[in-house]
């Protein structure tokens, strides 16, 4: 059979077969189909909106995170500078801690104002020239108005001996970890 004949036959069949018969068996969706469909579309649209909103929110959050990450160093510095108070508190706390330790264990005196840890307080007479001279020569003035001096272990021992000769006893250094001793000298 030639191709043209074949097509012709198909066309013949096409006319004679249908006879409008098959077009009568169309299936219709139920009435509620349209309503249900629109409900679903609207709901999807809302979800889509929320999704887009969420996506944008995530972008904003990521942006902020990046911003803070970039600003991190300066922010840290800012907080650090602000945080001096905290550091101060820490210092105070450590001082307080020291104070407790000092009082309980080895020292008579603790801190005066958070600046110094005074290990010993010594009372000398204003006419005791030898002692005054020794202190002036060997001790380092830390706070002259308050009579606070720093002295190394060796010279502290010497001071101890000088005072002992004059009948004044000061507490010996024991378990003292620091190289220097902070003393408060009261002149009567």
């Amino acid at each position: 059979m030639k191709y043209e004949e074949y097509v012709e036959k198909l066309e013949e069949l096409d006319e004679d077969f249908e006879a409008g018969m098959l077009s009568q068996i169309k299936e219709e969706p139920p009435i509620e189909f349209h309503r249900d469909l629109i409900k679903v579309v609207k709901s999807n649209e809302r979800k889509g909106y929320l999704y887009r909103y969420r996506k944008h929110a995530l972008v904003v959050v990521a942006g902020l995170a990046l911003f803070f990450a970039l600003k991190g160093v300066s922010s840290f510095n800012y907080f650090s500078s602000k945080g001096e108070l905290n550091t101060g508190t820490e210092k105070k706390q450590s001082v307080k801690k020291n104070k407790e330790v000092i009082k309980n264990d080895k020292f008579d005196y603790a801190v005066s104002d958070g600046k110094f840890i005074v290990n010993y307080e010594i009372f000398i007479k204003k006419d005791d020239e030898a002692v005054i001279k020794f202190i002036n020569e060997k001790a380092i003035k830390v706070d002259k108005f308050r009579g606070i001096y720093s002295m190394d272990r060796y010279h502290y021992k010497k001071l101890e001996e000088i005072l002992k000769k004059e009948g004044i006893e000061i507490k010996p250094i024991f378990n003292f970890e620091e190289d220097n001793v902070v003393i408060k000298i009261n002149i009567n």
Binding site: V7, F17, E18, S23, P29, P30, F33, I38, E45
Partner: protein, 181 residues
């Protein structure tokens, strides 16, 4: 409102425009889904899926073919995907066929639509390709060109496949006594 305008508004996510647009196609989509999937429930689900796909991807319609052709193509692809899935499910098809036949039988007895019933039954007996081409040509009345675009086959293939599909359908109808030899 003109279809092109409705499509344009749908692209801008206008649900009301979509409601109007889809109203003209719901029956066509459902009909195709029903005959392809042979089951009302599946046809409803598939039709809804198709309509949502249309709404979501309407901006992809470039106007190179008729909108109806584009809609049929989406419907066809969706149904074919579902049929492929269904083939992987053990004996599911048989259960559905049985339910459909039982349902239709009851309906046909009540409404005395025996001819329609026989026609439907005979169409359902055809293989997917034949059934598809009968639906598009003889039920929906599309042109060879449109069918060729929807099924993505040559126009000559449409004609030859239609010829064979009709013969197969005729044989089914003869078996049932609807047509004489």
């Amino acid at each position: 409102m003109e279809e092109k305008l409705l499509i344009k508004e749908c692209i801008n996510r206008d649900i009301k425009a979509f409601e109007k647009l889809i109203l003209n196609y719901e029956a066509k989509i459902y009909n195709m889904c029903f005959y392809l999937l042979k089951n009302r429930e599946d046809a409803l689900d598939a039709s809804q899926e198709v309509c949502i796909k249309i709404y979501k991807s309407i901006e992809k319609f470039k106007g190179e073919s008729k909108f109806a052709t584009w809609v049929y193509r989406i419907t066809y692809n969706t149904c074919m995907d579902l049929l492929k899935k269904r083939k992987n499910e053990f004996s599911y098809d048989d259960v559905i066929d049985y339910e459909l036949h039982r349902e239709d039988r009851i309906e046909s007895i009540i409404e005395s639509r025996e001819l329609k019933y026989d026609l439907k039954e005979s169409i359902m007996k055809l293989n997917d390709d034949y059934r598809m081409i009968i639906i598009l040509r003889d039920i929906e009345g599309l042109s060879y060109q449109e069918i060729s675009e929807i099924l993505n086959i040559e126009s000559g293939t449409v004609k030859s496949r239609l010829f064979r599909a009709r013969e197969a359908l005729r044989n089914e109808l003869i078996k049932r006594g609807v047509l004489r030899r």
